[in-house]
Amino acid sequence: MEFASVFSNLLSAPVLFFALGLLACFARSDLEIPQPVSKLLSLYLLMSIGLKGGVALSKTGFSIEVVSGLGAGVLLSFIVPVWTFFLLKSRLGVSDAAGVAATYGSISAVTFIIATSFLERQGIPYGGHMVAAMALMESPAIIMGIFLAHRFGSGLDENDDGEADALAWGPMLHEAAFNGAVFLLLGSLLIGLLIGPDGFEEIAPFVKKPFKGVLCLFLLDMGLLAAKRLGDLRRSGAMTIGFGLIAPPIHAGIGILLGWWLGLSPGDQLLLAVLSGSASYIAVPAALRLSLPDANPSLYVPLSLGITFPFNVIIGIPIYWSAIRFLEVAGS
């Protein structure tokens, strides 16, 4: 059954379209998705996930389970960057280590969506508040990344003419919290809470029904970009790529243990694992270009989009699920 579930993920339409995008780029096809279309697709996905989560939250209300789920997510987004940073600092230098740290402390919405589909296919329930957890995990990771970079000397790097840059807390916190992607996700969540199931019903033919299909188009685009960016990693060496493969299961493992210890449902545990184990390629790069321009986006974006994302989607999710099932059986 576990084997079948791996396959069910691999042969789902969105994942196949991701593969098609990779292939198109490797085969040097001139297939491309215009930039405004990518933006429309990601606006749609963020809006849709946010609304769905808000409506779910409006049904369940704020229970202890909800608060633990949110708290666990936020906690992970604070600590994951710390160890990531210290692990990579000596190898990559302060700025790039901080960039990767912020990237991996944050989350990938698409990985989250694919994990919810995985759960739905197997009839396993999960809480709508995990979307809120996701929305809350972007800003802390960004803040931690920038803070670490400044605390450990990015301000003193060779480019500078002597005087170290002071960390501009104001603009940095602003960008972390009001970044377009974060703002839309949180805003839609709030609107979902306000309109509730009845209001949602009216807009479901746009924000819910076509969701999976739109996801296919988006993943086609992600595949094209992931393949294009992968080339940039060649300069970064095998150790960096290794990090992109090892970080997800470790971070996800910490997420699972934390979720299990807090008594989250198995479904919520998987989502927490996936949030913890995934890395950002939308919100964080946008925020870092403003607040940490010394970090090289050609390092942290391909690592997140080209290595960690496919790893999680193809291998990670089924493995994490097996681990959760194992803990469940062992614990009972």
């Binding site: 405004p36 990518s38 480019n159 685009d221 294009k228 390629y281 939308i282 870092l288 270009r289 986006p297």
Partner: protein, 97 residues
């Protein structure tokens, strides 16, 4: 026709607001922006994809009076040093209308 400096600045999209501020501070009365410009330079390829604006540039075209042009261009240096980019200056004549 008035002699001006035509200043063309390519920076990454995240710096757009910054450069707009510098133009205003230099007392230059206008500018033109070409958005979503792609490019290649020391900092690698910027192909202008649509997931994030981390890989796209904007291009400013600024007609600056001769007396402010130099100091304005000088004020761009820190931005270009920090985040990359290009600044080209050409002599031009401006049709006064």
């Amino acid at each position: 026709m008035e002699d001006v400096m035509r200043i063309e600045i390519v920076v990454e999209s995240a710096q757009q607001k910054n450069v707009e501020r510098l133009i205003e501070e230099a007392g230059i009365k206008g500018h033109t922006i070409l958005r979503d410009v792609a490019g290649r330079g020391q900092r690698g390829n910027r192909d202008g994809d649509g997931l994030t604006n981390a890989f796209s540039n904007v291009c400013f075209v600024v007609a600056a009076p001769l007396d402010v042009a130099d100091s304005f261009v000088e004020s761009l240096r820190p931005v270009l040093k920090k985040t990359g980019g290009m600044c080209l200056v050409t002599e031009a004549r401006w049709l006064k209308h």
